[in-house]
Symmetry: C2
Subunit: 314 residues, 2 copies
């Protein structure tokens, strides 16, 4: 049987079983399964890992349940500013966008940056101008306004006021919205690896904060050996260059995937107080999904298996 | 004699001796010397490497001769959009800004992001709002308008028109403006390493392009072992995670600084067609300044030495 497959995450954080209804949980699991099956169908029919990770991420972007695309969290000013990165292992090409507000599927725009521009990262209004000229539909900002995220912003603002956060230059982070991000990594039948990550960032974020999801090497990585997508408190992943660190643990320290991932989580997250998780797959089809938070929405689908999804430790 | 010192660069690229007047060359060398002496004075009096790299970069930002601060190149729309990153080795903290238009010294704002916010990267209008609330003077955009950069934009636009670049979504890069960036790395008397990079990006850039100078790991790195600042065609440095790659060549592959730098330039730039250079210093005070372009503005100053500056191969 050829080695191929897909691994996804839908965010890590303080996800508590007692705070989630059975119905919510069922919806989340169903969307993760749909994401896996959508990506896997591409791989099974001989498509590229690049198409597979993009389509898998699209499913989570289009769901209000995850902090990316439709379900992106609100900024302090009541906007939704999104980051995304895609990377193609065989070529080492990467595309990313930061702080975009009117793009339904930021991962599609990241791919267009990679394929139709000489650049890696485009941001804000400039990125949207590029999108418009490449035929992207500009969404009305209300498309991204969901009740759940509105409540999370209100709660974050209440907490900020309660803690005396009146200094206009101050920044109060919300625990709730800190860890949402979606991502996928895949190996296709031709042995090509790819990774994709898309994120609404942090609830109540201010001042044009951009996170690791817009930075190849930090939140996303793919080369000829492995593909990685991360989720968590982005600043720790940026300072630790986490996704690339896992890759060089394999290539420079000679570690197999599982040891490389464990080492990166220990040295770059546990050691610094960083919280979150990651998914990674290597060219042999080995994969890992470690996290150091209460939970991480995640799943994998390999040939001859049923889609496997999980939220908490198993 | 205690080991300490500073190394700087003022950009790498197709710098041709025959295209530079004696007067221009003398001005550039004098500014590089002033930058070195300014940073070195901090170190000699027992100050931190963090202060030293910031002050050294300030000197180049305030000069119209380098593509950062005052001398930043023009975007396609006639603006100046700047990126900068600073990183503190002992703590692993980093601060960065991308696409800022009204900040005289972007490296100062990067430091304020590092020290006064929980974030790593702030962009565009949001970053300027943060700057304003932290007491930064908002410059009139005309402060950054210099005759040299205006001519470079006009030449780039002419070239774009001549090559039929009428497709509004297309991007034509200018060779001239591709490689300007300034940076500094330093080791202080307490053995602390720091790195800083500031850049106006590329002449004629469009669509909110942000380069490696806004990304810790790509254009800037500092830890307890080495400090790195890069200059060149930023997209190659982003895809190669060049600054961090040098650091892990030392830490994970056990290479001494010179071999680590040589390996990174060979594997991450020469192998991919990337052009540029970098400066790096380690905790023993060893330093390197490799580049694969015609020239790189650069210099170093160590205890008991005169400032040493250079432009071409020696």
């Amino acid at each position: 049987m050829p080695k191929f497959g897909i691994v996804i995450h839908g965010g890590a954080g303080t996800i508590l079983k007692e705070k989630m209804s059975d119905d919510q949980e069922a919806q989340i699991r169903a969307t993760l399964r749909l994401s896996l099956q959508t990506g896997f169908t591409v791989l099974k029919s001989g498509g590229s890992s690049l198409d597979a990770v993009q389509r898998a991420v699209n499913v989570m972007e289009d769901s209000p349940l995850f902090n990316a695309g439709k379900g992106a969290v609100f900024t302090h000013d009541g906007d939704n500013e999104q980051d995304a990165t895609i990377m193609n292992g065989p070529t080492g090409q990467a595309g990313a966008v930061g702080g975009v507000r009117r793009i339904k599927n930021p991962i599609d725009l990241a791919r267009t940056v990679m394929e139709k521009s000489p650049h890696v990262l485009l941001i804000s209004a400039g990125a949207e101008q590029f999108a418009e000229q490449h035929g992207f539909e500009m969404m009305d900002p209300t498309y991204f306004h969901t009740e759940l995220r509105r409540k999370q912003l209100a709660a974050a603002l209440d907490k900020e006021r309660a803690s005396g956060g009146n200094d206009p230059g101050s920044i109060t982070l919300s625990e709730d919205g800190k860890h949402g991000t979606v991502g996928a990594v895949a190996l296709d039948q031709e042995g090509r690896l790819a990774a994709a990550t898309s994120s609404g960032g942090m609830t109540n974020k201010k001042f044009g904060r951009v996170g690791d999801s817009a930075q190849p090497g930090a939140g996303t990585w793919a080369d000829k050996v492995c593909a990685v997508s991360t989720t968590g408190h982005g600043e720790y992943f940026m300072r630790g260059v986490v996704a690339y660190d896992l890759a060089v643990n394999m290539q420079y320290r000679g570690m197999p995937l599982a040891e490389a991932a464990e080492t990166t989580v220990r040295e770059k997250l546990d050691a610094t107080g960083g919280t979150g998780g990651l998914i990674a797959i290597d060219r042999e089809g080995n994969f890992v999904l470690p996290f150091n938070t209460k939970g991480m929405y995640r799943g994998h689908l390999m040939p001859g298996e049923d889609p496997h999804v999980a939220i908490w430790e198993e």
